[in-house]
């Protein structure tokens, strides 16, 4: 359909990157897919008016991820299965740290999690993060500090890197 011209091409080109953000924001494949689809639906409806589709989709995903409605819907999603306890002899230290981070991220609020993804995955500045989340820069800073503090409490093993991140 003409009104959606270029939509499929955009999704084909950017779906991997967008899927990664969606997964990081939700920590769950089903929820991530749901989040991405919802953002793409909104983009498609406004397709003829959206000048920067990727920025639009990312903004929708972040805001959707921290919205109260989204959180309510996530309650209905099956819980994330528990990761294996400890590490087997063939599991590298990095994998263990990944698991620890994933478990810790599960315990953060959606906004804290979104702030960390923006700041440490996407390497966004405070200003950019604030614009994407629709909040003030001060909020982004405080949420970042709170999130890192919480990570240190939840996963002391990640303490060094979280302190390093603050610097």
């Amino acid at each position: 359909m003409e009104t959606f011209a270029g939509f499929n091409e955009f999704v084909a080109a950017r779906s991997v990157a967008l899927s990664r953000v969606a997964y990081l924001l939700t920590g769950d494949h089903a929820a991530g897919e749901d989040l991405l689809q919802e953002a793409l639906v909104k983009a498609a409806i406004r397709w003829s008016k959206v000048s920067n589709p990727e920025a639009f989709v990312r903004k929708v995903m972040y805001r959707q991820a921290v919205s109260i409605w989204r959180r309510r819907r996530r309650i209905q999603v099956d819980p994330v299965p528990e990761p294996p306890e400890g590490g087997g002899p063939d599991v590298s230290e990095n994998v263990i740290r990944q698991l620890l981070l994933e478990l810790a991220l599960e315990r953060l609020t959606p906004r804290q999690r979104a702030v960390l993804v923006l700041r440490f995955y996407e390497d966004r500045s405070v200003t950019e993060a604030a614009e994407l989340l629709g909040c003030s820069e001060g909020t982004v800073k405080s949420q970042t500090n709170h999130a890192l503090q919480r990570l240190r409490e939840l996963a002391p093993e990640l303490g060094d890197m979280s302190r390093e991140a603050i610097r």
Binding site: V11, S15, Y23, L24, Q37, L101, Y121, E164, A165
Partner: protein, 390 residues
Amino acid sequence: MNELSKLFRDIAGQARGYDVSASALRVARRRRNLRRIAPIVLPLLLVALIAGVWLPLHRAEAPSTNPLFWLPSRIAAPDASTPDLPTDRAVGVAALVYTPCPQDCWRVVVLRDGTQYRLASPGSQPVHRLSAGLSPDGRWVAYPDAKGDLMLRDLTGRTVVTFPDMRPRAWSPGGRYLALVPVNYRSPPPVTIVDLTTAAAIRTLSMQAPKAGYAMDMAGILDSGELIWVTSEFANIAPPDLTSVPQIPLPKSAQVQITDPGGRQVLHQWALQAPAGSGYMAPTSAIISMLDGRLLVRFTVAYAWGTAAGPADIVDATTGAVLTHYAVPAAAGPFDIWGAAGLADGRLLVVRARAKQPQVALLEHTNGKPQTISEVEGGYGTLILPGNAY
């Protein structure tokens, strides 16, 4: 890149490429189509919703759901073939008594199944044309014969008792007693109490006359035998010509007394205050004793052309406190709202006479909205419902 960023990238690497392009487009098209038709569909849905909610409620007021199951929804005009009330057998309980035309008509009793019987021809005096009564349970009918004597007939049997020169005044709500007063009297009237279990007069009592300028009348009787008296500031009860237009204005207040069955001791006394725009007009069933001990008091509104039914209150019999208020639609003329009648269960029936299609309308308890429950064909002069007496 610090360690945290690296870990985030490692985690992100676990993400699959979510193939949601087709589904997103499908949902987007559906939503877009919905937005296009919404301006048309939403008003239609709104109309349907209103119709769906309102119409069933509206229909609920139709005669099919008539809460007064005993009142036929349509009462045919009597004709020459209408039989006289048989004296040799029971006919069944009645729903109402009425005269199908204003003057010189035979009085007709209508049973609950719609069957009609002619009663004796009314006497010559105007009061005889008006006066009649029907017990709250529809069992007893009281009416004057051609000589003006009161006939008390048990419709569920063959008992007929005559009380010379009397007229019915009030029934006790459970149908235990009937209070009679003389056709003509000076205030206060001597009251004769009839025990309906035996159809015999058990006592006659007279009250002391009120001070000058006041009129005292007997307004009701309870199943305990206690009597309700009303003293108002002037007498528009003025016998003997009850068909004359009452004095205007009507009294705004009256004093209610409830006495023991012998009328010797006042048990309760309180002031009856008429709602704004109305007055208390004694005595024609203006006070109805309810089965639960409360009283239903009807008020009257005076118009230039006469009087018509006004608002009504359900009051506490011991204190006079207003418990429920009924608003009655204003009469548009002498042939709009003709009158009202209270029932022993607390309901108020408005008798609306419009042109040649008089109707009996039940007033909603909560908002005073009338709903037609019965249509009386051919017009009428008087219409008496169970528990009422005129």
